[in-house]
Symmetry: C2
Subunit: 340 residues, 2 copies
């Protein structure tokens, strides 16, 4: 295998997913929170037609959903697959267009009239941008976007004004965290206007060593510049993480492998476990898979588990407010997923 190709594969090990969303609004309507039902229906119809009645290939690739017509369970499934937000399903004025391969979803009448989101597994921010940009063009041909020559696209919340663009990648940085290099990474990123934050946990602590790198600014920069900045810093972070993994491997040797398998053994056996411990063990297992030690599970199953064991998700599953009971349910949930 050639070296650059190998490097590409290594990158997919660190990056869990790439996400881009655009916020867009139509010129002739108030923002969604002020919309009347007939107006929201008009917007839904216009967006639906822009995609489904157009003469592009897109028209066969999307499914249309109107929130008020969906069963609760159908909405639930869309939320769980990260295709629409919980806010949208609570909103009877909402709609959604979802690409059949689930890489693109367009929420209608959520915080903005349009929230176009592309979500790809792995390090594919450029692919995500190409696709979302193309869809934005198709929509713009058919809709009157609220746009100001000086500041750009207008949005419901001022933090999104300008490009309306939020791009992010989700990365797993266990080796940088263990070696104490995470703060350096945070600082480097913030100096070029990017935010790095732990996804789970609070403050600078990230349970499971999962971080999100995203742009803080949407205004005063071109879309390509924003994407390029994230791509650039991400490549550096990925390389640093991969080199930190080699360092750990050299420092710890078989003790690193031992840690991976013990983590798996504990999660397969525990009867009570809180989300912090579970996240840290899952992080170990994920690293163990990515470094080639564990092969009985796929990283994607671990990524999924990391979402599913969160307090909010578990609360929804089991509806238990007692901490011990929740830790018992979580342990059982994990055992069932890992002991197949």
């Amino acid at each position: 295998m050639t070296k650059w190709l190998k490097k590409e594969i290594d990158k997919t090990k660190v990056v869990i997913s790439s996400r881009i969303r655009l916020a867009r609004n139509l010129i002739d309507y108030p923002f969604p929170n002020k919309l009347k039902k007939e107006q929201s229906d008009e917007i839904i119809k216009k967006v639906q037609e822009a995609i489904l009645n157009g003469n592009t290939v897109l028209k066969d690739e999307f499914d249309f959903y109107k929130m008020e017509d969906l069963e609760d369970i159908e909405k639930q499934v869309l939320v769980e697959n990260h295709l629409i937000s919980i806010d949208l399903i609570k909103n009877e004025k909402g709609g959604a267009l979802i690409k059949k391969d689930e890489t693109i979803s367009i929420m209608i009448n959520e915080e903005d009239h349009l929230r176009i989101q592309a979500l790809f597994p792995g390090f594919k921010l450029d692919e995500a941008w190409d696709l979302i940009d193309k869809i934005d063009d198709v929509l713009e041909e058919n809709l009157n976007y609220a746009f100001n020559e000086n500041i750009g696209y207008l949005t419901s919340c001022p933090t999104n004004v300008g490009t309306g663009l939020r791009a992010s990648i989700m990365v797993h940085l266990p080796a940088l965290a263990e070696l104490g290099y995470i703060n350096g990474v945070l600082n480097a990123a913030s100096q070029i206007g990017l935010a790095v934050r732990g996804i789970y946990g609070e403050g600078t602590v990230s349970h499971g060593n999962i971080y999100q790198i995203s742009n803080q600014l949407t205004l005063g920069r071109k879309e390509e510049e924003i994407i390029g900045n994230i791509m650039g810093i991400s490549k550096q972070i990925i390389e640093k993480e991969l080199s930190a993994r080699e360092t750990l491997k050299n420092q710890l040797g078989l003790r690193l492998e031992d840690r991976f398998f013990r983590s798996l053994g504990i999660l397969k056996s525990a009867r009570v476990i809180d989300s912090t411990e579970a996240m840290n063990l899952l992080s170990n297992i994920k690293l163990g898979i990515e470094m080639g030690y564990i092969d009985e599970i796929a990283t994607r199953d671990i990524d999924e588990l990391m979402i599913q064991i969160q307090p909010a998700y578990q609360l929804k599953l089991y509806n238990s407010k007692d901490t011990l009971e929740r830790d018992i349910n979580r342990a059982k949930f994990i055992r069932e997923k890992l002991n197949f």
Copy 2:
């Protein structure tokens, strides 16, 4: 099940094994370290004939071994089954008579001319005494024991003079240890002339919470009194341990079960493990089996593992003097025993 019967079963949970040995010497010979080869052969012959040519049922129940005639591997197997000592196999003057069911072994020309040992699983000190006493009677009818009216049987080492009796039970006391009651038990036992010591580990620390209760004195007491003392204190210790287990169960609830299964999960998965950690995890698993939580393994397998993972045993198996390498081998050994 009636209450007393249930109580009997509970006792077997705490007591791993019961052991009695008698030291005896013949009047017409020097102690073994001063024996000439022809004398040692005479002694072997006399003991052999006393058992095998007698007119009791014993004659069909024993196998005879002469150390100089055995292959190394045969000696090794006898040692590993706790039937003869390492000292005996190094000694070309030695012999052994072993009961076919392996409950009794008679070592000839070890430290004393005769070392008669009974080893039973569980709390069976009285059965062991009945059997060993009967065998001692048969031998005494045929051999001239070195005996002094005032002090009793004479032995090679003065600490065994008198009854020549050492009786012991091996107990597993994890709950007493966890609740901090072990020192009270040690003191109570020592006040009636018994010694309680951790089998593995050093000083008062017992890795794996395995203790041996044995008589310190062999002189000035009748055999039945010694056995009776150990039986009595053991019953008290067993009851205290069982009640401490109930306390732990009430205090910890599912966290106790969690600990049992995590211990099992870790031992099934670890790639590096030292004997201290392994012993403590095995102790947890043993308690988990005895309290009815774990049923995929038998306590006897855990008892066996506790012996096999000791540094000396592992050194013999793998012949590795490097600590890390030994911890790696130990982890592998345990995984192979537990993942069946």
